[in-house]
Structures are given as structure tokens and as C-alpha cells.
């Protein structure tokens, strides 16, 4: 009866987004599989060593596909979605119009996910688990579809979606876990799945109805009133005193970009905290999962952050629009405003992450596995040494995240500034080569990991090589830097970095480690410090390139 409408819809969906679908569903897995196949032939590697990474990649691709099938351009800053309005005129009932993209998308994505799990990650699921997974994907699809119709105020949309996705993932894991009370517990997990999917479909249906009737859904307006209180007299909102251009730009950067990362980390951190209420949390694997989630996300999100910080507004891909480029600021002021923003954002996020981890640890004081781990650590390094090493670890992770973010920011700036038609292929080639080299290096290191520890035990001179290379790069960047900014700013920063590095080295020397390890770790610390310092040279140079084409 509705065959023609269904055919039209399905044809449109797959036809319009061919490129994205092929790219996400075919190219990325192929690349990943090639990388894994290469590494698998290395003797001694566990078969699923890259599983967590693989899962994360899977989630990202699934979300990308989800947005494709829901016609949502999550990166579009404008109002409304890419849903072709003419489809609303099809002589088909609303429930069908809401359902077809969802079903088409979820079936495609479910098939994709299951195939990935089977062939790439080597995970075998029984039919109940496959069903649960498909339902979970459908739930998320419903929500993405619903989000596209302006049900919620725009600023809440991505947050709401993130919450829903994580809730769904947690429900799925709980429902599919081997233990009956893992995380939320099986019953709660199943209920969660049903709720998220039916709720999502309900919203999607409401949204399509609203679009067809061109009604404003009261939900949007009432939520706005609830959270954003525009009814309040706005003279109550004081204007910030911006006395200098730099102060104004700092205010701007923070308002636009500053709260993204802390917000993400709060949401991610909220889940382990929330599940503390459930018994499943107190068991060691759950803690590990939560903490890993927190820290891995921290690292993984950094490149995305770097790109976001430099985009015109964080929902778009356009870099440095005309407005930003015509600010009466010097290139170095513009660049340092960005860097300052990234630092403040990461500092705040670090506080949040530390707070969450402290709470988790305190709540799981009686956790047997955790205590065992801690006692092993204190045996090796002593109590102060253990705390010290944990602090150093966190600092190192934060520094690495920030550096990753800033370096990715630089890459985006560079990519934007060069003439892509002429040099684009060269850059892609360089990136692929770099990735290949890193992979080779990681493989070498992993293969030799047992012998590596012994190798490091004897204080090797080769460990200095990264330091020398990085120092060389820094010196090479100095002349172009001087053309953009005064060396005095750099001097102040360099002194700061030097102080922190020296403190770190002193801290390292306090650890009761054999000299060889300390030597290697020190070299690593200095390298990390240099890598973290590098963006301060790169970003001003690249901002200049990007601003004046």
C-alpha cells in the first residue's frame, strides 16, 4: 500500500548520501583492517589488543552513519536539518515518514556494526545480543532523528544526544553482560533499551507531525524558558568589562569554545559517578572501564577539540571566518588568545577528571582488586612515590591531550592556509606516511616490549634522540616565529616550561626506580615538555598563514 512512498524515501536516503555512506562504511573499516592485519602478523601480539580502540572507532562511525540516515547535519550551524521538505508532502502517513529513515538507518547500521564486530573485532554474539544491539541502534537513530527537528533548543541538542547515546551504550552493555548485575544490571539494562528506543521513536514521530503541520512544539519553548530564562529582565545580565582588545578576545574565545571540553568531561564523568549507585560499579572491571573511558576519551577527544577550537563556531567546519580575521589584533595576539583558551579549558577539565577519579576511588575503597593494585604499586615505589607517580601520570596525560589538541589545531590551520589543490595531495601523503611510521614504531616497540624494559634498564644514549630531534624542530621554527611575535613572550613561556620540567625531573628522581628507567622516563618527560611547548611556536606562525592567505 505504501510501497511507492517507502521506495521514494529509501531511494532518496541512500542516493543522496552515497559518498558519506561509502566513506564511513567501506573506507574506514578497510583501513582499520589493513592496519590490524599488519600488526597481527607480528608474533606475540594478543589477538584483540586493539579492541577498545576498535570499539570506539565503531561508535564514532556508527554515529556518523546515524546522522547521515537521519538527514541530520550535526555540524550545521543553521536552523533545521537537511531533511528534504518535499518528502513531507508524500501521500504517506506520518508514522511511516518517521519510521522509514529510522528503520533503513538502523538496519544498515546494525548490519554494519555486527559485521564489524564479527570480522574486525572477532566478537561473536548470539541472536538475543544481536537483537539487543539492533534495538539500541534503533533507539539512538530515533533520537538523532528527533533532534533534527528542533525539539530542543540548539545548544542542548548535542548534549542531549550524548546523554542518550551513553545511556543506550550502558543499557546495552548491562543487558548483554555475562554477569547479571554488571553496571546497571540486566533487567535495568533491558528496560533502559526499551525506554530509549520507544521514547526516541515517540519524539521522532512528534517531530515529523510538527514539521508537517508547521507547528512549534511547546517543548522547545518551555525548555528554553526553564533553562535559559529569557523572560528575566536582561539588564540584570551585566556586561563584562573588557578594557583591552586582548581581554575582549579572551572573553569571546572562552564564551564560544571554553566550555565544550569541561562539559564533555562532566557528562562522561557523570556516568561512572551515577553508576556508583549500582552495585555493579564496585567491582573491579567496572571501575577499570569507567576510568579508562574517562582517560581514553580525554585523549581521543583532543584532536576533535583542536579542530573545534579553530573553527569559526564549533558546530561548523569552516576555519577562521572573516569576522575573526578582521579583529584589530596582531597575529600573535590572536594566536595566543586561542592557546590561552585551550589551556584554560584543559585545566578546568583536568580538575573535573581528577575530582571524578578521586570520588570513584574513595567510593571503592573496599574494592579488593583496587586495593591489590595499590599495594603492588606502593610496594615498588612507596606511598609518596605512588602518589607522586599518579600525579605525574595525570599531568602527563593532560599535557599529552593538550599537545594533541593544539597540534591538531595547527594541522587544521595549516591545511586551511595552504592551497589545497596544489599541496593537498602532498599533505595527505605526508600524513599517511607519518601514520605508517608511527605504526611501525609501535609495532617494533610492542614486539620488543619485554626486551625493551631490559634495554632501557641500562641507561641508553639513544633515548636522547627524541629530545634532540624536537629541540631541532623548535629551533627551526624560531625564525618564522620571530616574524609573527616578539621573543619576549616566548621567553616567559620557556621559563615556565623549564621550571615545570625541572620540577617533574626532580619528582622523577624521587621515585625509587633503577637508574636506567629514570633516565628513559626523564628523556620522555623532556620530550613531552617539548612537544607541549611546540604549539606555542607553531600556532602563531600558522595563524598568520591562515589569516593572510
Amino acid at each position: 500500500m505504501y510501497a511507492s512512498a517507502i521506495r521514494a524515501l529509501v531511494g532518496e536516503i541512500f542516493g543522496k548520501n552515497r559518498a558519506a555512506i561509502v566513506g564511513a562504511a567501506a573506507v574506514t573499516p578497510a583501513a582499520w583492517m589493513i592496519a590490524k592485519a599488519y600488526l597481527r602478523h607480528v608474533p606475540g601480539i594478543e589477538p584483540n589488543f586493539a579492541t577498545p580502540l576498535g570499539f570506539l572507532l565503531l561508535v564514532v562511525i556508527a554515529m556518523q552513519l546515524g546522522s547521515v540516515f537521519a538527514y541530520v547535519d550535526l555540524t550545521a550551524g543553521g536552523s533545521g536539518s537537511g531533511f528534504p521538505r518535499h518528502i513531507l508532502l508524500l501521500p504517506a502517513p506520518t508514522w511511516l515518514l518517521a519510521l522509514v529513515p529510522i528503520i533503513a538507518g538502523s538496519l544498515f547500521i546494525a548490519a554494519f556494526v555486527l559485521l564489524w564486530l564479527r570480522f574486525v573485532s572477532g566478537v561473536q554474539l548470539d541472536w538475543t545480543q544481536q537483537l539487543a544491539l539492533t534495538v539500541a541502534i534503533t533507539a539512538v537513530m530515533c533520537w538523532i532523528q528527533a533532534m533534527s527537528w528542533e525539539l530542543l533548543p540548539r545548544s542542548m541538542r548535542i548534549v542531549a544526544l550524548l546523554v542518550v547515546v551513553i545511556a543506550t551504550i550502558v543499557s546495552v552493555i548491562s543487558a548483554l553482560a555475562n554477569e547479571p548485575d554488571f553496571l546497571l544490571g540486566r533487567r535495568a539494562g533491558q528496560i533502559g533499551l526499551v525506554l530509549t528506543s520507544s521514547g526516541g521513536y515517540g519524539f521522532a514521530y512528534l517531530a515529523v507531525i510538527r514539521a508537517r503541520r508547521s507547528e512549534t512544539l511547546a517543548l522547545n519553548a518551555s525548555l528554553k524558558r526553564l533553562f535559559f530564562s529569557p523572560g528575566q529582565p536582561l539588564h540584570a545580565v551585566p556586561l563584562p568589562t573588557l578594557s583591552t582588545a586582548v581581554a575582549a578576545q579572551n572573553w569571546f574565545e572562552w564564551r564560544v569554545y571554553g566550555r565544550i571540553l569541561p562539559l564533555f568531561m562532566t557528562i562522561i564523568g557523570a556516568f561512572p559517578l551515577a553508576s556508583l549507585a549500582f552495585d555493579g560499579m564496585r567491582r573491579a572491571p567496572s571501575i577499570a572501564l569507567s576510568t579508562m573511558l574517562l582517560l581514553v576519551f580525554y585523549l581521543m577527544v583532543s584532536p576533535m577539540m583542536g579542530a573545534a577550537y579553530i573553527s569559526k563556531d564549533w558546530t561548523r567546519r569552516v576555519q577562521m571566518g572573516t569576522f575573526a580575521a578582521t579583529r584589530p589584533l596582531s597575529d600573535s595576539e590572536l594566536a595566543f588568545a586561542k592557546l590561552r583558551l585551550a589551556i584554560k579549558s584543559y585545566a578546568l577539565s583536568l580538575l573535573i577528571v581528577c575530582a571524578v577519579i578521586v570520588v570513584i576511588i574513595l567510593a571503592s575503597r573496599n574494592n579488593v582488586a583496587l586495593l591489590a593494585l595499590w599495594s603492588r604499586l606502593t610496594q615498588r615505589l612507596g606511598t609518596t612515590g605512588s602518589y607522586l607517580s599518579l600525579m605525574l601520570l595525570f599531568a602527563a596525560i593532560t599535557a599529552a591531550s593538550w599537545a594533541a589538541s593544539a597540534l591538531f589545531m595547527s594541522l587544521q590551520l595549516f591545511y586551511e592556509a595552504v592551497d589545497r589543490k596544489k599541496h593537498g595531495w602532498k599533505i595527505s601523503l605526508a600524513m599517511v606516511t607519518l601514520f605508517g611510521l608511527l605504526l611501525m614504531l609501535a609495532r617494533r616497540a610492542y614486539v620488543a616490549r619485554d626486551s625493551a624494559l631490559q634495554w632501557l634498564h641500562a641507561a641508553r644514549a639513544e633515548v636522547i634522540i627524541p629530545v634532540i630531534v624536537l629541540t631541532g624542530i623548535a629551533l627551526y621554527l624560531l625564525p618564522p616565529f620571530r616574524r609573527v611575535a616578539a621573543l619576549s613572550t616566548l621567553r616567559a613561556l620557556a621559563v615556565g616550561f623549564l621550571t615545570v620540567t625541572v620540577l617533574g625531573l626532580i619528582g622523577l628522581s624521587q621515585l625509587r626506580l633503577p637508574f636506567g628507567y629514570r633516565w628513559a622516563l626523564s628523556s620522555g618527560l623532556v620530550s613531552l615538555a617539548l612537544v607541549t611547548f611546540m604549539p606555542f611556536l607553531l600556532v602563531p606562525i600558522l595563524v598568520r598563514m591562515s589569516r593572510h592567505r
Partner: protein
């Protein structure tokens, strides 16, 4: 360095290529102080590219650009703090309220006058409490215009400001231009394809086509000396050899010449050649522009 120079903008032999397309070809433009300088050209002629060079968004591949006597790429802060700019499609931060926006902008310009800014907003009937994304396109343009004027810039740069705007907004743009130029030493650069506006407010006109300068002259001259001559002459007419004639159309033994010249001199010359002058008519700016855009010949200079 900059106070003695009489030109606000001095561009010499500027050339810019995008891949293989030449967006600007050997362009030389001098914008003197205290004038309204109009750039007229069809879409894609290179007007925005030229303006971006003035703002320092593009580096000069060949030639030189000098604004207030400085290179805008080397001294972005010094140059941009004296320019008020309204782009063709303004990309203001939409999340800000108008009040926040004006407060933010104020910090960048040392000459910003808060009272004057408030006055301008009131004249434009804008509610400072509204968010920019809630405004219509015309209102957003008006906000940009207020922000561009509030610091009394030495150079007001308007890039196709009226495109897609309602008549009220367009009127305000003209008002802003006049308000700026009545004060000694302040200049306006207006790029537009709305010729009626350009005709009213500009002192000097630059015709731009395909990245080349077709004509650069005072508005008086442009309006006074563009003529269309209808004549009858048996046989062929070597119109390219005639001084000041840049375009010609033949129609059944009658010729229509488009020229930029001393009309009496030219008609005299034509009559000597045996042509019967049927009509001479001054061209409106619109017609002059259309005739120039399909210009097929660069005329020799009139003595």
C-alpha cells in the same frame, strides 16, 4: 609616514591568481582622503578580492598594497583599528546580544564612542537586548553598520552592503556613508552593483570587470562625458580609431557609438568623416556600466 600621505589606500600593480584564474590583473588604485570611492562591477569582477587585499586578508602576490601608509598584512592591528568594515555576508557571532556585541567591539577600537554607539542603535531602531540570531538580515546589517561607524573610522569599507536588504536598511547605509564623509579626512570605500546608490553618494568611480580596471574617474566626469551617439553612415565605420569610443553597435546602416569623450570634438570628427548625426544622448550610469561591461576595445586617450 601616514599623515603626510594624501591617499588612504595606495594599490600598485596588484595581481592575484587563484589556481589559473586571474582575479586581479595589474590593478592600480589610489583612494584619496576625504572622498567616497565607489567600485562598480559585475559579480565575480574582483571587487571583494580587492577589498580583502585592503583588509590584509590576502597577501599581494605581485604589486603592493598600502593602507594608511602601512602594509595591512604586516600591521593588521594598526590598520584594522582605523577601518570600519561591513562585509557582503556578515558573519557576526550569532549567539551574542546586540549589547554584548557592541561591548565586545568597543574594546578593539580606541576611538569607540559608547554614547554615539547607543545613539546609532536607537536611530536604527534596534533593541540592544535581542540576540543577533533573532534578527532579520536587514537588522543584522544595521547592527554591523552601527558597529562599523561607532568608532568614527578613518576609512569605512562597505562591500556590497545593500545586497538583499530592504529599502529602509539601504537608506541607512547611504546615511552612514554621508555621515562619514562629511567629516574632514574620513573616507568611504563602497563596492556595489546598485548603481543608483553609487551615483548619489560617490565622488570617484572605479569600473571593474574581470579583474581589470576599465575606468577610474571622478563621478562628475563619468556622468558628464558618457554619451551615446546615433549616426548614419554608409559603409564601414572604423569606430576603434575614434578617440574615446569604447563600444559600438551596428543596426541596419545606423550606428550606435558609446563613448567617453568631449562630445563636441567627437561629433565634429564624425561629421568630417561623412557621418550624419541623428542623436546624441548622455548615458545614465546604468547604461554606461552596461556598455562598459561589454566593452570590446580600449579607446585611445583624447587629446
Amino acid at each position: 609616514m601616514n599623515s603626510t600621505d594624501n591617499n588612504v589606500v595606495d594599490i600598485r600593480h596588484l595581481t592575484r591568481r587563484f589556481n589559473d584564474k586571474a582575479a586581479l590583473q595589474d590593478v592600480t588604485v589610489r583612494i584619496p582622503r576625504g572622498q567616497v570611492f565607489g567600485i562598480v562591477g559585475e559579480n565575480g569582477a574582483g571587487k571583494t578580492t580587492l577589498i580583502k587585499h585592503i583588509l590584509g586578508l590576502y597577501r599581494a602576490q605581485h604589486g603592493s598594497v598600502s593602507v594608511f601608509g602601512m602594509d595591512p598584512v604586516k600591521h593588521p592591528k594598526e590598520v584594522l583599528s582605523r577601518i570600519g568594515y561591513l562585509s557582503e555576508q556578515p558573519d557576526f557571532p550569532e549567539w551574542m546580544t546586540i549589547a554584548q556585541f557592541m561591548n565586545y567591539m568597543a574594546a578593539f577600537y580606541p576611538n569607540w564612542d559608547r554614547q554615539y554607539a547607543a545613539q546609532l542603535l536607537e536611530m536604527a531602531s534596534l533593541d540592544a537586548r535581542k540576540k543577533i540570531r533573532e534578527l532579520s538580515k536587514g537588522q543584522q546589517a544595521r547592527v554591523g553598520l552601527c558597529a562599523a561607524q561607532a568608532h568614527r573610522p578613518e576609512l569605512l569599507v562597505l562591500d556590497e552592503p545593500s545586497s538583499g536588504l530592504d529599502p529602509v536598511a539601504r537608506r541607512e547605509i547611504l546615511a552612514a556613508v554621508i555621515r562619514t564623509v562629511v567629516h574632514e579626512g574620513r573616507s568611504v570605500l563602497l563596492s556595489s552593483h546598485l548603481l543608483e546608490e553609487v551615483e548619489r553618494v560617490c565622488d570617484h568611480l572605479l569600473f571593474f570587470s574581470n579583474g581589470e580596471v576599465l575606468l577610474s574617474d571622478s563621478m562628475e566626469a563619468v556622468l558628464d562625458r558618457h554619451y551615446q551617439i546615433t549616426l548614419r553612415r554608409p559603409g564601414q565605420l572604423e569606430w576603434q580609431a575614434l578617440p574615446g569610443v569604447f563600444n559600438a553597435v551596428a543596426d541596419n546602416g545606423e550606428w550606435q557609438l558609446f563613448c567617453f569623450a568631449d562630445i563636441d570634438q567627437l561629433t565634429g570628427l564624425l561629421q568630417l568623416q561623412g557621418a550624419q548625426i541623428l542623436d546624441t544622448r548622455r548615458l545614465s550610469l546604468n547604461e554606461a556600466f552596461l556598455a562598459r561591461s561589454s566593452q570590446r576595445h580600449t579607446p585611445g586617450r583624447i587629446a
